[in-house]
């Protein structure tokens, strides 16, 4: 825990990457952590099912903001299905520090929001495996 606040965590906290808003938003979601009031919003721009651009916004502790910032860097160019399948372990590895149980929600808030944006968008896609519905 003494190593909790590594240089790069503070750097992402004070200089968050991809922070702000997109002009064209294809998918988005936001949520708050009621424990601490941390708030994160993710906006995605998509092309052919891949993330072409991303912005996040919000307020919160260094852990939640740095985690979201690093997450935003890691998803550009990735398929939305892969983003929807991102695991907690992957994010924690990315953050690279031991997170205490009390702070787990801070570290994973960005992931939760991002996945919800991805899943929400995927849910609107036509299901390719399903039999084509008769035209009305």
């Amino acid at each position: 825990m003494d190593d909790f606040y590594k240089e790069y965590i503070l750097d992402h906290y004070r200089n968050p990457r991809n922070f702000g808003h997109l002009e064209r938003v294809d998918a988005s979601a936001e949520d708050i952590n009621p424990l601490c009031g941390d708030k994160i919003r993710f906006e995605l721009q998509l092309e052919d099912g891949r993330v072409t651009d991303v912005r996040f916004s919000g307020k919160g502790c260094a852990i939640s903001q740095a985690s979201a910032s690093m997450l935003s860097e890691s998803i550009k160019g990735r398929k939305l299905e892969d983003v929807a399948r991102l695991s907690k372990e992957e994010v924690l590895e990315n953050v690279g520090i031991g997170i205490s149980p009390a702070r787990m929600k801070c570290a994973t808030l960005g992931l939760k929001v991002l996945k919800s944006a991805a899943l929400g968008e995927i849910a609107t896609w036509p299901d390719e495996d399903a039999p084509a519905e008769a035209a009305p």
């Binding site: 825990m1 004070r14 601490c36």
Partner: protein, 418 residues
């Protein structure tokens, strides 16, 4: 006046009554417990009272005619008398056991509120209330069509009373916290209560942060209802109380219904028990009530005047000590004049989020609360995403304050504020 160093000496002795404070943290740090506003620690005497009750006296109350049941009933009702005397209620029948302050306030909201409020009536509270003294009134207003109004607070969390009489027009209930859990503001009840009564309103006081820390006299304050929690005053969790004036309690319908709160039950109708039992349906939290009685004994042995003086002095010391960190960006919130605040200090360190700050303090054995402190509208109004909060009790010492100051310096180093 007691010499300052003598006060701290006594607190050191008192701390030895609390076994939990003697244990180091997993990092081998001395424990500096500065979160008593959330829940206080328990002295050995209270822990012993719980063990004694379950070891020797346990039985259901108000029923059995055998010796154990009589002993349990006597202990339970004896604890009620102790707590009633502690807040200077006229009689113990005016003291109702609940789980905590929140349940006490809900009892008044559901019982008195639904019976007495009509469209056009108003409820007056303040902008710095804990959610427990806000949400019940929001729901009550929605159910009855009553208007919900707020006494505003200024940037230092002080009540603005210039337009009080105007705001009181049509108000049936004034609901205020005695001491703000977020900022430590002491509400000017001696000004507000008489004016509320003159306007025809009754007054409920959320005393969760005052009863544990100072002498609270319900008759001197002339409040109509007063709610508090046992676990913040050296007692166990799960037991709290509601004080209410007899005439009000007698006129109110029951809140929860079932066993123990009845006089006579027929298939289609029931007559209710007398107060306080009318409001205590089902088997009560007997053991914790008994242990709360032991907590009151403990506090009375030390003396509430001493507790108050000690906290006041320690808070002044902490404020002074923390102000040395102001060049590093430490901001302290709440009333500027120490006489307007209790042993609660809300603060932030530069751009360090309160949760990060609390995590770093934790690595040094310092326990503080961080977040919105169940006062989200106040935080929003003040423009603070979160604050850290240190709160003091009778077992805290200058050493705890020094440990806090040292840990704050560590946080400043980690976040490169120096």
């Amino acid at each position: 006046m007691i010499a300052p160093s003598k006060l701290d000496e006594r607190a050191k002795t008192i701390a030895r009554d609390f076994p939990i404070l003697a244990q180091p943290t997993s990092r081998g740090k001395r424990l500096a417990f500065l979160d008593s506003a959330a829940s206080s620690q328990k002295p050995q005497a209270v822990i012993d009272a719980l063990v004694h009750y379950y070891t020797y006296d346990n039985a259901n109350i108000h029923r059995g005619v055998y010796e154990l049941a009589e002993r349990a009933t006597a202990a339970f009702e004896g604890a009620r008398e102790k707590v009633a005397r502690f807040i200077n209620a006229a009689e113990s029948a005016e003291l109702i056991w609940t789980r905590n302050t929140t349940e006490s306030i809900n009892l008044v909201s559901f019982s008195w509120g639904l019976q007495n409020l009509r469209p056009g009536d108003a409820i007056l509270t303040s902008q710095l209330e804990h959610h427990s003294n806000l949400v019940p009134w929001q729901l009550l207003a929605a159910k009855t069509g009553a208007d919900l109004r707020f006494i505003e607070v200024d940037a230092n969390g002080m009540h603005e009373l210039d337009d009080l009489d105007e705001k009181l027009h049509g108000v049936k209930l004034v609901a205020l916290s005695h001491i703000s859990n977020s900022l430590g503001t002491i509400a000017p009840l001696e000004t507000i209560v008489p004016r509320a009564h003159a306007a025809g309103a009754i007054v409920l006081v959320d005393a969760a942060q005052s009863v544990p820390h100072m002498k609270v006299d319900v008759r001197a304050l002339d409040v109509d209802f007063l709610a508090a929690s046992g676990h913040k005053m050296c007692g166990p969790t799960g037991i709290g109380f509601l004080y209410g004036k007899r005439a009000l309690l007698e006129a109110m319908p029951p809140f929860l219904t079932g066993g123990d709160m009845i006089k006579r039950v027929e298939y289609r109708e029931t007559s209710f028990n007398e107060i306080p039992w009318k409001f205590e349906a089902g088997t009560s939290n007997i053991a914790d009530a008994v242990a709360l009685g032991a907590a009151v004994d403990y506090l009375e042995t030390i003396g509430m005047d001493w507790v108050h003086a000690h906290e006041r002095r320690l808070t002044a010391f902490a404020l002074e000590r923390m102000r040395t960190l102001e060049p590093l960006g430490l901001a302290i919130y709440g009333p500027l004049d120490p006489k307007d605040r209790s042993g609660i200090i809300a603060f932030n360190l530069a751009d360090v989020h309160a949760h990060d700050l609390a995590s770093i303090l934790d690595t040094e054995g310092v326990c503080v609360r961080a977040g919105h402190h169940c006062t989200m509208p106040l935080m929003e109004k003040m423009g603070w995403p979160a604050t850290a909060r240190a709160s003091f009790y009778l077992y805290n010492t200058e050493e705890d304050v020094e440990q806090l100051a040292g840990a704050l310096h560590k946080a400043a180093r980690i976040f490169k504020l120096a």
